[in-house]
């Protein structure tokens, strides 16, 4: 596709630190190439800010290829921006036009406090996994990998759930800042694998317990999470989560 150049207006959330009050600042992004990625566009703006002696806009990012889950940003009201099945770092400027105004905000949720500008603290996700998002197997002594065949269909279901990158877009998109797509994805992955069976009940109980403690909201079935998930994880995993939890909660010993 042929390269275009464009000038844009950015309205960016700036916040000095966790306790400071934030506000929007307006910046001009000039001469932006349609071949740039969204983050490269921000790099250009930041270079300009630094040259003007100002602090650059802080945002999280690392792999820049849509897999580490580090990048975030609510772009024009949509987590990870207007493109389907993409992270912010994969979003390219060819999705925008000359003269556009772009509003950029951080993930907003009680459980994800803003640390600076567009950077948020998502460690609540780690704590949910720590509560039970694993198979308790020590290194060594595992049986041969082919000892337990897993039907391809089940393996595929597990895989679809396992693609979660833990970026938090589901929480950002949810009207209730619920984390159930994230938790559901992990629970679903293990539910479909024989390795996940021994801890099937304790896992979901502990993870939901932690999720509630962290201050996430609850699913009221709007499916905004699915729509903004860069890995397109289906809300089926939330139904599975509900079922797994009910089963575990009512039959626990």
């Amino acid at each position: 596709m042929a390269e275009r150049k464009m000038n844009l207006t950015l309205k960016v959330w700036r916040q000095k630190n966790k306790n400071a009050r934030g506000d929007f600042e307006t910046y001009a992004a000039k001469d932006i190439s349609s071949d740039m990625s969204f983050l490269e566009m921000l790099d250009v703006v930041n270079e300009g800010l630094i040259e003007g002696g100002k602090e650059p806009i802080a945002f999280d990012h690392d792999c820049r290829e849509g897999i580490c889950g580090m990048c975030s940003l609510v772009i024009n009201g949509q987590p990870h921006g207007p493109d389907d099945g993409t992270t912010t770092c994969q979003l390219h400027m060819r999705k925008f036009s000359d003269g556009d105004t772009i509003v950029i905000e951080p993930w907003r949720a009680k459980a994800f406090p803003v640390l600076k500008d567009l950077v948020t603290d998502r460690s609540a996700f780690d704590r949910i996994i720590q509560a039970g998002g694993y198979v308790s197997v020590n290194t060594g002594g595992a049986p041969d990998a082919n000892a337990v065949p897993i039907p391809k269909a089940e393996a595929d279901l597990a895989f679809d759930a396992a693609t979660c990158i833990g970026c938090g877009a589901c929480v950002a998109a949810c009207p209730n800042a619920a984390a159930m797509l994230f938790v559901g994805a992990k629970v679903s992955q293990f539910k479909h694998l024989p390795q996940g069976q021994p801890e099937r009940k304790s896992r979901v109980l502990n993870m939901i317990g932690r999720m509630d403690q962290e201050g996430f909201g609850n699913c009221t079935n709007h499916y905004e999470c699915e729509a903004s998930c860069p890995k397109e994880i289906p809300v089926r995993v939330i139904a599975e989560l509900n079922r797994e939890y009910t089963r575990a909660a009512l039959t626990k010993r």
């Binding site: 609510v74 949509q78 907003r108 999720m211 079922r243 797994e244």
Partner: protein, 249 residues
């Protein structure tokens, strides 16, 4: 040292409904109970359209039905208690969830674009509250008796008697829905109920974890049809009754 606790089903259920998912499920289950009631309630009321039986008179069918209910206290009170329980639990837990959900996003977005959520889903608490208030009004209107006169209708309507000496439900309806104001009120509230049920019906499968690649879409479509049927059935009563010639109170 054993940490084995004895099995306590009470605790188990309490813990479950104390959790976020348990609360959701309780809202869904009580919603389903009310669903059942709404259908039964509508089916009963549609008898207003049944023609007079041989040797009978217009409205006799529904009057007889009303009499049957009143003279079967076990059924009447059984239903009432279940419903009151369901309503309270539904409202209570829905309220709790809604407050938690609001608290989970203390600062709002300056710009937020929805991709999948519908108005029906977004206004669930509002439609719920309106429906709740409406139920209260509805109870005063047709069951307890209005404490004050509204649009020319007073608690006298509960005193109407038919030829058999039963409460004349038929006349009560004709008097009430002879008033355009009542028709409007019932229409608006039923539309909100419709909206509440549209989202509720789509939701309930997901909440209860009944998700299947092929069955869920079918269940959802059936749900839609049912909701539409309920709305049509419920709304037909005031509208059709209104079109009857006026009747003296």
């Amino acid at each position: 040292m054993s940490t084995q606790t004895s099995f306590n089903p009470f605790r188990l259920v309490l813990d479950f409904f104390g959790s976020s998912i348990g609360a959701k499920i309780l809202v869904a289950l009580t919603g389903v109970i009310m669903w059942g009631f709404v259908i039964g309630h509508m089916a009963g009321n549609l008898q207003v359209f049944l023609p007079a039986p041989p040797d009978g008179y217009w409205g006799q069918q529904i009057n007889d039905y009303g009499h049957f209910l009143k003279s079967t206290p076990a059924l009447l009170w059984g239903t009432r208690i279940t419903l009151i329980g369901a309503v309270f639990l539904h409202i209570g837990f829905a309220f709790r969830l809604t407050m938690k959900n609001k608290a989970a996003r203390p600062s709002r977005y300056a710009m937020k674009r929805s991709q999948k959520s519908t108005v029906f889903g977004k206004i669930m608490p509002v439609s719920g509250i309106v429906v709740g208030l409406f139920i209260l009004f509805h109870l005063f209107h047709f069951t307890i008796g209005l404490p004050v006169e509204v649009m020319g209708v007073s608690n006298d309507i509960l005193q109407y008697q038919d030829q058999a000496g039963h409460h004349d439900v038929y006349k009560m309806l004709r008097v009430s829905f002879g008033q355009v104001g009542f028709v409007a009120l019932y229409t608006i509230c039923n539309l909100l109920l419709l909206m509440h049920l549209v989202h509720g019906t789509q939701s309930v499968w997901q909440t209860l974890g009944l998700n299947h690649k092929s069955w869920t879409p079918i269940a959802r479509t059936l749900g839609w049809l049912l909701v539409a049927a309920i709305a049509a059935g419920n709304l037909s009563i005031p509208f059709v009754v209104m079109s009857y010639p006026p009747i003296a109170p």
